[in-house]
Symmetry: D2
Subunit: 334 residues, 4 copies
């Protein structure tokens, strides 16, 4: 049994508590939040869990094996650092930290302390993304040409971070997970139409070998769009997270190309169009699997699927995008 | 009656001939094409039209008042230049020329010769784009925040131009027509996955005052998408050219924002969501209106809606995008 | 303050309790359910509410002004009858009763006892249906030609009632509310593909003056469809309850027709196609308004919007449909 | 080489001429139409084809092996009868005739004369319908539970036939082709909202063994719908002819059912939900295959796929539907 404490019972914390409460390998002993009203909700729903507004109660409790940090991102680093130093395993909400430097320190510290450091890149635990990874790993897609994601809608302006820090962690983590490559350069352009935080941004990520990643994130769109296109040499995917079912469509479409001299004046390109398959997806709630992966990786003394290094890679893309946006789209080498 | 000659009877030429044939203010006297089989089709369908493979027959025919040039783009400049010098009006297929320099020369020459120089930016004559321009001009949208266009599908790789020269003229001309502003900078990233012409590209256009334009053009996508999002301070538009009807949807949605100090900790942003209207669109074939605009502007001795300067603006965006793409996304100041 | 008791805490009961709990004119004093586990849930969530498995506790409690009956339909009649006789107001889940005879008895009894008898036709309290009723009442639709509804999906076979009793009460109540006419005849055809309850049925309702109503209800369909078409002389509606927003679309389309002798050989019919409008809908939860209508109608001593007679009209359509289905589609006069 | 004459060059005739012109086993020798202007179009497009307004020119031309009849339906029977009597093969536009009696006479006459009698049920030659038939024949769907078709839109009121004679031949022919069973009873309800021809109708067809067919045909709908649902014991189909591609979707969904006594109170029904497949469809133009089937069946001296008996089955459903509609939905036994 792993004794767990949860920091932060705001937007995402209750989901964390609900899923760790249902995890038979975990026992939630503490929930910490600065807001007493939020703690009241914990007491009503989970009388067995102790509550506190003082992180020290948790840090100093040697019964606590692991902490889940779902506070605002600015508190991620100090809480995680202290918890690791106290010998506790750490699961961090995304984005992992506010800077690459902080993320690197946590990775290093976790290594030194031999503790699990995991980031909650929730989407990687959905049936849709897992199915897409299967298609990549099995070679069914072939080599990937591009990853193009649109995540836009009206609403939920954040007060502390811009649209990239708010929405792009989802797309960056999915892209990182599917492409499994190190990017070479990032550029981003955005605009602040209300206040001084970007509410729209376009991010381009260049990978070796002509592989392109691209994101459109936008808080000011007339309709909600959650669509990713992935082009491969053999097959292509449309992933539409707005669909209640039929989220992933696999198109057996492609192009073959002949470069021989003669063909230049004849038929250069041949199109292939076959079936479209919409596979059944595993319906388990993603956060249930996040919780399980955290406790399993602790028990089995192994790296979790979304470890600190994965979190660091995403923070690096976020930080670089924001550097580029401040320089009006300058290409940032990685 | 305006006597017209048409150069090029390939992909678009037959549509030009059909529409000028139906234009009661025009008479087609010549069609020129290097391919004799194509000319045979003209003779079968339009016995009254003379055909030739030699442009000189047209250039030297003083009966010809105006020429329509729907050849491959590389022939646009020499044919248009010669026709203008011979005192003929010119309608050019898009894109107008292969370089800004050529476009500038034609604009200058047409001015000197006092002849009509028009570019066939067909989309501007569709009911959908005309309706959107109305919404802009009436102030119904308010100020525009961004113009975001996706034009992707599988197929029709070109052998002579990349995906930007092939597809982006549509979006650039629509964006130029609706925004009515001069861009400040352009950047583009693309990739050549088959051969040495880019088959996917992302183009960002920065305008004064935080206005952003963005295009995704792609020959290698699993599905056909033709969607433009336009965000305004008062209303927003989704323009989906794939829809058989209901192409333009106007959302009465928006955000109002308070910057007062106190509000920072209370309610910064208020969302508004009202009706969505899908207006009836004028169904007249766009090319019919292109033909009419050409002959009307000649008869009335006025500038056409899509004059040489409009064509030049689009070529400038195309050229800059390609400069940027060759420098891996470097921002090009205009 | 109206003291309320709720019978049945199964599928719909918890929603009733939640909404009456939030209704400031009502106080829930009892919840009754035969299943002790269900009552445990009430105690945990609402410590102030008394629970019982014996309906007599409620019937004999003179503090109870009104009862809400959300039990299986077979218990509706005896519970409602006893409550009315004890001088209590009654809100019944749909369908009101299992037979027309029972419904008529309750209507009569409520009249004699001068108590409110209301049926929870929830859909009539949604923003979508209220908007459509507005369009009918304002004359915007013109005269109605037909009401066509499809309510199909895979799943949720019931063990006690067929697909008509399960799904058609929704469509019948909406149709009755919008058309505001008495039907003349009903016919229905169905089939039992699994077991001996119909899992698919088509119901046709004939109204005076060429007005047609039609339902397709189906438990065995590959996709979920919730679409109603309403044709009027002036405008037409597509109501798609599957849409997260944009549920009601109003088409300014129509046909005008000339019957003059000459026209027979010329132009008989003229089509009109104008804008489509998707109005903003009131987002209040329907069941909140059901609860409010029940307490308001009691306080104001007036008939509720969905009174016993409305419930009776729906039961009459259900009963007739089932008579017809047993006679393989015979037309049943009403 | 089969010498062919075509009667009727109105709406469908030009498509027939174009496809038979391209059929290398056929030679069109005559086109007959009462309207001289229409014949002018034939002469312009096909100088090698003779034209006439007098059917006798064709009937008496012993060079003519076969006739294609695409006139208004009232002329189908007399023309087909005379052509068969003159020893010519006959291809009839749908619907085959205006009465069952006429259809039966033609079938008998063709048998006596040993001539091919074929009906142009075009849809059966589309890639979509052929694919669905494959799925039925291979057993992939299992036994069929129901066939449900909606074919509605605004427009094209006919002056001579009601909406059933206009639209239902498509659905009846597809249903007949896929189900391969003889119906037991037909009922239909409709309404005449403009003039005295039904513009909306619902038709129910009862087959042995609980198999149901149902059609909704409507000239007065706000949107165009062309959707067929087919439920089978193993798989289910959504066929949406409005889709430019992805017309046929095969759902691996189903229900299994246990009738054992104990299960009644436990788990009666189990749902299964698997992949959805959207197969690539053969893109050949259907009418090209109609033309080929006609000449092949003549050359090979065999019955065509859509022979006179298939045409007769469709006319029987049309006639019965109209009998029922005149009796306000009375069930007509077949």
């Amino acid at each position: 049994m792993i004794n767990v404490a949860v920091f932060g019972y705001g937007y995402w914390g209750p989901n964390m508590v609900r899923n760790f409460y249902a995890n038979k390998d975990a026992k939630i002993v503490w929930v910490c939040d600065l807001n007493k009203n939020r703690l009241g909700l914990v007491q009503a729903g989970y009388p067995s869990i102790k509550t506190t507004s003082d992180p020290k109660d948790i840090m100093n409790d040697s019964q606590v094996d692991a902490v889940v940090i779902s506070t605002p991102v600015s508190a991620h680093f100090p809480l995680a650092q202290e918890a690791l130093e106290k010998g506790k395993h750490v699961l961090l909400e995304k984005p992992m930290t506010t800077t690459v430097e902080e993320a690197e320190k946590l990775v290093e510290l976790a290594g030194k302390k031999k503790k699990t450091l995991m980031v909650d890149h929730t989407f990687l635990y959905t049936g849709a993304v897992r199915k897409m990874r299967e298609l990549v790993d099995s070679g069914e897609l072939g080599d990937i040409y591009y990853f193009d994601s649109v995540r836009v809608n009206l609403g939920l302006f954040q007060h502390d971070v811009n649209v990239i820090w708010d929405l792009a962690p989802h797309d960056f983590s999915i892209m990182d997970y599917l492409l499994q490559k190190d990017p070479e350069a990032v550029s981003a352009v955005g605009a602040c139409h209300l206040g001084d935080l970007e509410n729209i941004a376009y991010v381009t990520v260049q990978y070796p070998g002509n592989l392109l990643g691209h994101l459109h994130v936008n808080w000011l769109a007339p309709v909600k769009v959650r669509t990713t296109l992935i082009g491969g040499t053999k097959k292509m995917i449309v992933y539409d997270d707005n669909q209640p079912s039929e989220k992933v469509k696999i198109y057996d479409k492609g192009v073959s190309y002949s470069q021989s001299k003669e063909d230049v004046y004849h038929m250069l390109v041949q199109y292939r169009s076959g079936d479209m398959l919409c596979p059944k997806l595993e319906p388990t709630e993603a956060l249930r699997l996040v919780s399980k992966e955290f406790t399993d990786s602790i028990s089995q003394n192994r790296k979790p699927l979304t470890d600190g290094v994965a979190g660091l890679r995403v923070v690096r893309l976020l930080e670089s995008s924001n550097q580029s946006i401040k320089q009006k789209g300058k290409v940032i080498k990685l």
